[in-house]
């Protein structure tokens, strides 16, 4: 990046420093309101991903566990909670993007 700064041509024009909006004069600010769905997606991702990441140590511990049947019951209970949450999310239409 430094090399490019030294070697690159420099012709400073005011127009060049403007916001790029397909050649039209820029209007309004970029930090306007955006769809809340992006935020919802991020929050839901956090919930589900934390759930799934909890399963990683479980998957590693299963092979050496003493009572593997108990591990399976725990897993099924955990997945049941996850599925209930998932069905709620889908039914609440918070992930419907087409309008």
């Amino acid at each position: 990046m430094t090399i490019s700064k030294v070697l690159g041509f420099k012709r400073t024009l005011v127009r060049k420093m403007d916001i790029y909006e397909s050649g039209v004069n820029p209007s309004g600010s970029a930090t306007r309101q955006y769809d809340v769905k992006y935020y919802l997606t991020a929050i839901l991702f956090l919930l589900f991903d934390v759930d799934l990441v909890f399963l990683l140590p479980w998957a590693l511990g299963y092979q050496n566990a003493q009572d593997q049947t108990f591990m399976i019951y725990g897993f099924l209970f955990f997945m049941a909670i996850l599925l209930v949450g998932y069905i709620f999310v889908i039914n609440s239409n918070s992930l419907k993007w087409e309008e």
């Binding site: 990046m1 090399i3 490019s4 700064k5 070697l7 690159g8 041509f9 420099k10 012709r11 060049k16 420093m17 403007d18 916001i19 790029y20 909006e21 397909s22 309004g28 970029a30 930090t31 306007r32 955006y34 769905k37 992006y38 997606t41 991020a42 991702f45 589900f48 991903d49 799934l52 990441v53 399963l55 990683l56 998957a59 590693l60 299963y62 092979q63 593997q68 049947t69 399976i72 897993f75 099924l76 997945m79 996850l82 599925l83 998932y86 889908i90 992930l95 419907k96 993007w97 087409e98």
Partner: protein, 349 residues
């Protein structure tokens, strides 16, 4: 201590240098491949068969003016490409290209940083890739780039869920997070001819993972972050000169890393391709060379697959993309995980 530092430095130079050096080759393959698929020539003027084209591109990028528009947030605008590249290169540290071998009476691990948590580390770091894009989009202070960054982030996190379900299922099957033991599990043959690759055990997880890595590395058909027809260029719209090139390098390295992980989990990593045993014989040196060669061949096929898909499938619409991620792939991944766990459990008991 000095020896350890020296060893690490040499390995780092080779393992990070090799993928970075192979980016020009991927670029040629991609552009010539595009030409091949669209019945045109592609860049063929610079050097023999256009092989020098990427070198010319690099010099052009270096000599172009570096515009820093007046409305950006300068600090974040400058560090965003660096975040993207560093985060893309870091997972390479745990990806081995061959089995551990003896050298001067010492066991050498052919990756920079040997850890039992290889897979976990690689995915944790490569998931940070969305930060580079988000910072770039926000710092550019432009409507197109902001929208591109938001889209990229929402898409990457959505597909990471189905990716994670595939990883959990595979780690449960192998019972280990260590890349060397995962590859060791996949060495050998069933019925004498079918390689013991994870793909044949878990085709559903493999498909989930494949779709996930296309979405994670923002390649077509999932490159909604860049969608030329609607967002012009997405998050790197205000970038010029070498900063723009760095974003591209980051994308290609990310692609390489993810295809490496895909191969490790589903296609036996550096384990030999069928038929290669005949070439190896008893020599340990030959074995290592052949393992490196197998890994490189598998990676090259993956990269060609990326190019192939890019010029075959059209881009998704955004709501279709989100629906595919959340309402198709995620439940599929969860059910695949549950069935895998139950089958393994009832086979043991």
């Amino acid at each position: 201590m000095l020896e350890l530092i020296l060893e690490t430095l040499i390995k780092a130079a080779i393992i990070v240098g090799l993928p970075l050096g192979s980016i020009p080759i991927i670029l040629v393959v991609e552009r010539r491949g595009a030409g091949f698929m669209q019945k045109r020539l592609g860049p063929n003027r610079v050097g023999p068969f256009g092989l020098m084209q990427p070198l010319a591109d690099v010099f052009k990028f270096l000599f172009k003016e570096e515009v820093e528009p007046s409305h950006v947030r300068p600090f974040f605008y400058t560090i965003a490409p660096l975040i993207a590249l560093v985060v893309a290169v870091m997972p390479l540290a745990v990806i081995p290209v061959a089995a551990p071998f003896d050298f001067n009476g010492k066991t050498i691990f052919p990756e920079v940083f040997h850890t039992d948590l290889g897979i976990f580390f690689a995915f944790a770091v490569s998931a940070l890739g969305s930060y580079g894009i988000l910072v770039a989009g926000w710092a550019s202070n432009n409507k197109f780039s902001m929208l591109g960054a938001l889209r990229a982030c929402a898409q990457m996190v959505s597909y990471e869920l189905s990716l994670t379900t595939a990883i959990v299922a595979m780690i449960f099957l192998y019972g280990s997070n260590d890349i060397h033991s995962i590859v060791a599990e996949q060495t050998g043959y069933w019925f004498g001819f079918l390689p013991k690759w994870g793909f044949f055990v878990q085709p559903v997880a493999a498909v989930l993972f494949l779709v996930g890595i296309f979405a994670e590395s923002n390649r077509l058909p999932f490159d909604l972050a860049e969608g030329e027809s609607e967002l012009v260029a997405g998050y790197h719209i205000e970038y010029s000169s070498i900063k723009f090139a760095i974003f591209f390098m980051a994308e290609y390295v990310h692609m390489l890393v993810l295809s490496g992980l895909f191969i490790i989990l589903f296609f036996g990593g550096y384990s030999l391709l069928p038929g290669m045993e005949l070439l190896v014989g008893d020599s340990a040196l030959m074995l290592t060379i052949m393992q490196v060669l197998s890994f490189i061949i598998k990676i090259s096929l993956m990269v060609w697959f990326f190019v192939w898909v890019r010029w075959t499938l059209p881009r998704f619409r955004y709501d279709q993309l989100m629906m595919l991620g959340w309402e198709r792939l995620l439940p599929l991944g969860i059910f695949n995980l549950i069935i895998t766990v139950l089958v393994v459990h009832f086979r043991n008991h």
